[in-house]
């Protein structure tokens, strides 16, 4: 399988684009005309061919450019990747999981050769050919978690499972929707979700935690989360908020189609065997309104979801001020007709 990798930027001149193929496979998150929090977990055991759900760790046309952007973020702020001392084994677990999965799912792009603890990893898109000793940190240029997540799309949170709770004790977080790893590292499941409005009272997190604690090796799970971003900026971190926040003010009715993005996170959950930790990859997909409305069903539905979203959620997701302009743009695409259930285009 060959993927044509884009050469694009997620900052500055923002040359990011989605091909038609990328638009068609975009993970539109709304299966009905309104949105409220739910423990919307399902098994992560493949999906329709070509969809983002098919492979364990989806690789798409944005891979090479996203990894370059991550490199820039880390050079500027190394605190985006941290691992508490007891999480080293979990880092090796993650490295093994990703290398095995990707070499099996994309054999044309990745290779893993193992002879006891002598491993050789080949990453063709990034021109990497690395021989190393599994479990020996001195044989890799970075710690195992950092090493492999510098080559994998999406953020990664590794959660230690203790005392009937999950603790965010390691992570690589450069494409986050406005939360800080440096601040949240060490917190438990309820603590790091503390700022989310309404969800706690609804009991969402108690139920979600119960589900996550019982995930076992071999039976990963997934769910979708979403927000909105102005410009295809991956690094919407609180650390840089004083630099990117003002971009929200640059929207006009003329440019909103190109600059307003729907940002969807594919969140997956895998049990890690040697450490008994849980890894929580958060994979970010971006689509601007102009591309999104090319699918009539999505255009209609998005208009209704955004229009009826409770004010606390729209505020928390950061687009409350631009909501009127977004609705003005989407309204012409909503003919008031009923829309089919589910997320796939008609």
């Amino acid at each position: 399988m060959t993927i044509q990798f884009n050469d694009e930027s997620f900052r500055g001149d923002y040359t990011f684009t989605n091909s038609d193929h990328a638009i068609k496979r975009f993970p539109f998150p709304f299966h009905e005309d309104s949105y409220m929090y739910a423990v919307n977990m399902e098994q992560h055991q493949g999906g329709p061919t070509g969809s983002i759900y098919e492979k364990r760790f989806d690789v798409d046309e944005h891979y090479v450019s996203e990894m370059y952007d991550r490199k820039l973020v880390l050079a500027e702020d190394p605190l985006r990747c941290q691992s508490l001392p007891h999480m080293v084994m979990a880092g090796w677990d993650l490295l093994e999981l990703i290398m095995v999965s990707k070499s099996e799912d994309y054999p044309d792009l990745f290779e893993l050769h193992r002879d006891g603890t002598n491993w050789r990893w080949v990453n063709k898109p990034l021109s990497i050919d690395q021989s190393f000793i599994f479990l020996d940190e001195t044989s890799l240029p970075y710690g195992p978690m950092e090493y492999i997540t510098r080559q994998t799309q999406g953020d990664f949170c590794i959660l230690d499972q203790r005392n009937d709770n999950l603790w965010m004790d390691a992570g690589m977080v450069t494409t986050q929707a406005d939360w800080s790893l440096d601040f949240d590292i060490g917190m438990n499941f309820f603590e790091w979700h503390a700022p989310v409005p309404k969800a706690h009272e609804m009991g969402i997190f108690v139920r979600a935690l119960k589900f996550l604690l019982s995930i076992q090796q071999g039976t990963p799970a997934r769910r979708l989360n979403w927000t909105m971003t102005v410009n295809p900026l991956l690094d919407t971190s609180p650390e840089n908020y004083h630099k990117w926040g003002v971009q929200k003010r640059t929207l006009t009715p003329e440019n909103i189609g190109q600059k307003q993005y729907l940002r969807v996170e594919l969140q997956t959950f895998f049990r890690l065997p040697r450490s008994n930790a849980l890894v929580f990859p958060i994979r970010c997909y971006l689509i601007n309104l102009e591309d999104l409305v090319s699918v009539p069903k999505w255009a209609r539905r998005l208009h209704r979801v955004i229009r009826d979203l409770p004010i606390e959620l729209a505020t928390y997701k950061g687009f409350i001020d631009n909501r009127p302009m977004i609705l003005d743009y989407l309204a012409p695409f909503d003919d008031g007709q009923p829309t089919s259930d589910g997320v796939w285009p008609d």
Partner: protein, 320 residues
């Protein structure tokens, strides 16, 4: 979560260690590597004994990094429901069996500065894997192991030979007791204590440690609760519209499964909460044997843990 993924294995070795304990070694039937696991994990072994299918959890004793085999130890219990007897008398080398992916409900706290292990009898098994794991990472640990007599001290010789300064055996019949007070005092801050053995031992160590001022978070324990046999009883499964009969040597969970109804489970020993089942209606009394439900929940008659608990009475309707 309905159990976890299954693995087809053959019994590659059987070793009788002493009068009570026999060791079983499993390898995959197709030669694939077994999944790695973390010390303290157990696997659920399926035992087809005629028409009766039993699923019993056993701690994996072998090295977590050895993916060619899993080893378990089974202590014979003549008063039990027959699972251990089945293993001891009916299983032979070369037999094909089905086991589950490892599940860990008794894992090490990796932040601990020192791991203090207290084992009683067959409770030694999870520590064997944890010790091997800690040895690989130069972890600081100590084992205090109490058994009835040297002949029944499974693995004592092997442990003393490999780790002479870290293992202390105690034999009940020689009146040797773990000197708990002196053991608990003087331990460095950040020590965690792990107890696995009979209920009495677990309760004793937990109480002493708490009275001494050890934090709850630093005290870990696993009790091997096997479902105890009891009077047969009947239950109605409302959602599936089935009536099941729970036999004397059968657990309620096993009876539910035999009727073709799937119920979630993970430990099958009353500790993990997965099989929690709501009671729609009842007329009788519950025999709660689990560690999961609160005292209030047990008294309420609204919930039952079918893996280990039973019922006596005229009517029981369950939400399954």
């Amino acid at each position: 979560m309905i159990g976890s993924t299954k693995i087809n294995v053959i019994v590659s070795q059987i070793k009788v260690l002493n009068d009570l304990v026999t060791c079983f070694e499993f390898k995959t039937t197709n030669g694939d590597l077994l999944p790695t696991f973390s010390g303290g994990a157990h696997t659920i072994v399926e035992m087809q004994d005629g028409v009766v299918l039993r699923l019993n959890p056993y701690s994996i004793m072998s090295d977590p990094f050895d993916q060619t085999r899993y080893t378990i130890s089974v202590r014979r219990d003549d008063q039990g429901r027959g699972g251990s007897l089945f293993m001891h008398t009916k299983v032979k080398v070369g037999d094909e069996m089905v086991i589950s992916y490892p599940v860990n409900l008794f894992s090490l706290d990796l932040r601990a500065r020192k791991h203090l292990f207290i084992a009683g009898g067959i409770g030694i098994t999870p520590f064997l894997a944890q010790i091997k794991q800690l040895e690989r990472s130069n972890g600081y640990w100590e084992l205090h192991y109490s058994t009835r007599r040297p002949a029944l001290g499974t693995f004592v010789e092997e442990l003393l030979e490999k780790y002479p300064h870290k293992v202390s055996p105690y034999y009940d019949e020689a009146d040797q007791r773990i000197e708990l007070t002196s053991l608990l005092s003087g331990q460095p801050l950040g020590t965690h204590i792990y107890i696995c053995g009979p209920k009495g031992m677990i309760d004793w160590v937990r109480q002493e440690a708490t009275d001494f001022g050890w934090p709850d978070e630093a005290i870990h324990f696993e009790e091997f609760l096997a479902p105890i046999p009891g009077k047969p009883f009947q239950a109605k499964l409302e959602i599936s519209d089935k009536v099941i009969n729970v036999g004397e040597l059968q657990s309620l969970l096993e009876a539910v499964e035999l009727a073709g109804v799937k119920a979630p489970y993970l430990c099958r020993g009353g500790a993990c909460g997965q099989c929690e089942t709501s009671v729609i209606e009842y007329d009788g009394k519950f025999i709660h044997r689990d560690h999961w439900l609160t005292d209030d929940e047990k008294a309420s008659g609204l919930k039952i843990m079918p893996c280990v608990s039973r019922f006596e009475g005229k009517k029981l309707v369950l939400d399954r």
